[in-house]
């Protein structure tokens, strides 16, 4: 039975002599505490990513990136956050007020919710849902709705065209992504994220068992994260800022947060599905929970680093080319991968 963060907290409390039989209030408090922990953790990670992106990209581009605020500009994300919070929040006159208000939330909330069945480490999982990966795929499919709403509600042609592009891209790349995930699920025999991690401990990392699947997943993931070369979401050279052209202040910050939370989320999924999740060699003397969270973080950071590196190297692919790659190359290959995996699993090889 896999432990969850909740179990661990209850266990720690029982060690210091606090226990609460069946009363519901402390349970709710603990759950709320976990929710806050998750939100803060993701927000901190996102802040770190923005700093890392600017630093790595800076060094790729023979410059230093932020250097003024804090050591090596480490406080830059905080300063940026304060700037965004204190900026004027403008709603265009002709915008659909309610939809305009709710769109950032529709994008932001799913990007946090995907972390619920995410195994950050051994015993560090909010809830080990039996349908974990299916839940993640389903939840992350909600954010294109928010993008479409944002583009529509802004009443701006750039925003509308940008949102249509973004949604077209998200939908076309979700299909190959889910198809490759099925390959992993076939090998594991379970949809639970924790089971997928444990299965990789028994066998080997799935990146070696599913090389084709991994490559398809990687490309689809970059598209889903909306990173260059597949960042039709922003397309700043054509549509100024894509679907969030009209957004400013806090609402813009939500889109920004969601984008990086998405980057974190999909990197985490990739680390879990293909790189053994939190598993890694343990150093004696350090608690397993901390070691496993450390390994997980290292793997996620490596993937994020890769996407930043990619951003520093290549330009954007054109919209029709992105879609034709998605439908004409990725989906057939994903089906092929699924077919081969199915045969191998049925034949008892995997």
């Amino acid at each position: 039975m896999t432990q969850t963060i909740y179990d661990n907290i209850v266990y720690l409390l029982s060690l210091v002599g606090i226990s609460f039989g069946d009363s519901i209030v402390p349970k709710i408090i603990i759950v709320l505490l976990i929710a806050v922990l998750l939100l803060v953790g993701v927000a901190l990670m996102v802040m770190f990513f923005t700093w890392m992106e600017r630093k790595v990209l800076g060094h790729v581009q023979v410059r230093r990136g932020p250097m003024i605020t804090g050591p090596h500009g480490l406080l830059q994300p905080i300063v940026d956050g304060i700037k965004l919070l204190t900026k004027e929040d403008i709603t265009p006159k002709r915008a659909d007020k309610w939809l305009y208000f709710i769109a950032p939330l529709i994008v932001f909330v799913p990007s946090i919710l995907v972390f619920i069945p995410m195994p950050f480490g051994q015993g560090a999982i909010v809830s080990d849902l039996p349908v974990g990966i299916l839940y993640i795929m389903a939840i992350s499919a909600i954010s294109p709705v928010g993008i479409l709403v944002a583009g529509w509600a802004s009443d701006n042609k750039y925003a509308l065209l940008g949102s249509l592009r973004a949604v077209a891209q998200d939908i076309s790349y979700e299909i190959p992504m889910v198809l490759t995930v099925i390959g992993v699920v076939l090998i594991t025999g379970s949809l639970s994220m924790q089971d997928i991690v444990l299965a990789q401990g028994e066998k080997t990392w799935f990146v070696f068992l599913q090389p084709l699947g991994f490559i398809i997943f990687l490309i689809a993931a970059i598209a889903e994260m909306s990173r260059i070369p597949f960042d039709l979401h922003e397309s700043e050279s054509e549509f100024v800022a894509g679907f969030f052209t009209e957004y400013s202040g806090m609402k813009f910050a939500f889109f920004f947060l969601a984008e990086y939370a998405h980057l974190f989320g999909i990197s985490a999924i990739m680390a879990t599905l293909y790189f053994g999740g939190w598993q890694g060699p343990l150093i004696p003397g350090i608690p397993v929970v901390i070691m496993s969270i450390g390994w997980f973080t290292i793997k996620v950071l490596a993937i994020v680093f890769f996407t930043i590196w990619l951003r520093g190297t290549v330009p954007r692919v054109r919209v029709d080319q992105i879609l034709s790659i998605g439908w004409k190359v990725m989906i057939p290959l994903a089906l092929l991968n699924l077919f081969i995996t199915g045969l191998l699993v049925a034949g008892g090889v995997l």
């Binding site: 581009q61 023979v62 592009r165 050279s237 054509e238 290549v314 029709d320």
Partner: protein
């Protein structure tokens, strides 16, 4: 296929990829461009009219503001027209110095072109590399003229000042370094599959249309027409220099981009020869005296030179007074831009950005 409703999309005048204040009114069918209308004149400063109230020498700084990326060539184009009008000959050392700064200016222009083109394609790294190297050339210009963009360096009678101490060594070191830098760009960009996907086969302009539109410079050479005024109608000391005209016949944007890369190398080659000549030759860099107020005889002159962006011409009419009677500027950016609507017809809006980047205009040069 289903028909979608056409709509009008306004791009600019303030937009990330219009390189200034140009406005497009696009008739779009979804993402496909049906028709392009350009609205010019947002940066019109009436330079041609201003010229009529300035003395011949006073107008030189204004030419820096035409195509403010390559001020040196603008200075020279105007200066050449004035010199033709007044019948002034410039010492050969001065001519070589002019060629040196003009060719370095061409490299600066093409570096900026490369950077902004790929920035429009969302690759943010090339522009940083290009600016790093552009900076080194601008430092040289600064040591010559005191300015980095608006030089006012080449003027009737020669150049404004002789080279400072250590200039030859610094330039030689830079000329040694730059080829490896250009190789670096080529390595990063030329064989990148995504760049090929984005640039190959779009923005087609066949040689006949290119000539009819009056397209010049790398744009025309990318359509397979070997036309370079430095070769065809040599001015200054270009007939004594060894260089070749870079031409490609693919007619697409990728060819036009590669031509710029090749031209940077050719310009380095020319600059080296010019630097050798400056070192070898003795004597002044300008005529001993050029009067501040001078009155050429009645007459007219037209000079045309190969500016980095294409043919830059100055037509000056003198009525014998201290001011020009009329100055007409034939700017390469304006003429090249006119071919854009045909080049982007039927393409996607993302291609508009790429094709527009490849035309390489400077709004100061378009609107004057």
């Amino acid at each position: 296929m289903t028909e979608t409703e056409e709509f009008t999309l306004n791009v600019g005048p303030v937009h990330p990829s219009t390189h200034g204040v140009l406005r497009f009114v696009l008739r779009m069918d979804g993402e496909t461009i049906k028709d392009t209308e350009m609205v010019l004149g947002q940066l019109h400063r009436g330079l041609e009219k201003i010229a009529e109230s300035r003395s011949y020498l006073q107008f030189v700084p204004y030419t820096d503001r035409l195509d403010y990326i390559s001020g040196m060539t603008n200075n020279y184009a105007y200066t050449k027209a004035v010199e033709d009008l007044a019948g002034i000959t410039v010492p050969r050392r001065g001519e070589y110095l002019r060629v040196l700064v003009m060719e370095l200016g061409r490299i600066v222009n093409h570096m900026l072109f490369t950077g902004t083109l790929f920035l429009d394609l969302a690759a943010s790294t090339p522009i940083m590399y290009c600016f790093r190297d552009r900076h080194n050339i601008l430092e040289l210009f600064e040591s010559l003229s005191g300015a980095r963009i608006t030089f006012n360096y080449i003027r009737p009678g020669g150049v404004r000042g002789d080279i400072p101490e250590g200039f030859i060594d610094k330039t030689r070191a830079l000329l040694k370094e730059l080829p490896s830098r250009i190789d670096e760009y080529a390595e990063l960009l030329n064989d990148n599959e995504i760049i090929k996907m984005r640039l190959k086969g779009i923005g087609m302009l066949n040689p006949k249309d290119a000539i009819n539109y009056g397209v010049t410079g790398p744009m025309l050479r990318g359509s397979g027409v070997s036309h370079d005024i430095r070769k065809d109608d040599p001015y200054s000391v270009y007939d004594e220099l060894d260089f070749k005209v870079c031409t490609r016949s693919e007619c697409d944007t990728y060819a036009r981009y590669i031509i710029r890369m090749d031209e940077m190398r050719e310009s380095l080659h020319i600059a080296e020869q010019a630097l050798d000549a400056i070192e070898r030759l003795q004597g002044p860099v300008s005529t001993s005296y050029f009067p501040r107020i001078f009155k050429p005889a009645r007459g007219e002159s037209y000079s045309r030179i190969e500016a980095p962006k294409g043919e830059l011409g100055f037509y000056i009419v003198s009525d014998g007074s201290e001011h020009p009677y009329r100055v007409k500027i034939r700017s390469p950016s304006f003429c090249n831009l006119m071919a854009l609507p045909q080049m982007v017809k039927g393409l996607k809006i993302s291609d508009l950005v790429a094709v527009f980047g490849i035309v390489d205009i400077c709004l100061g040069d378009v609107d004057r």
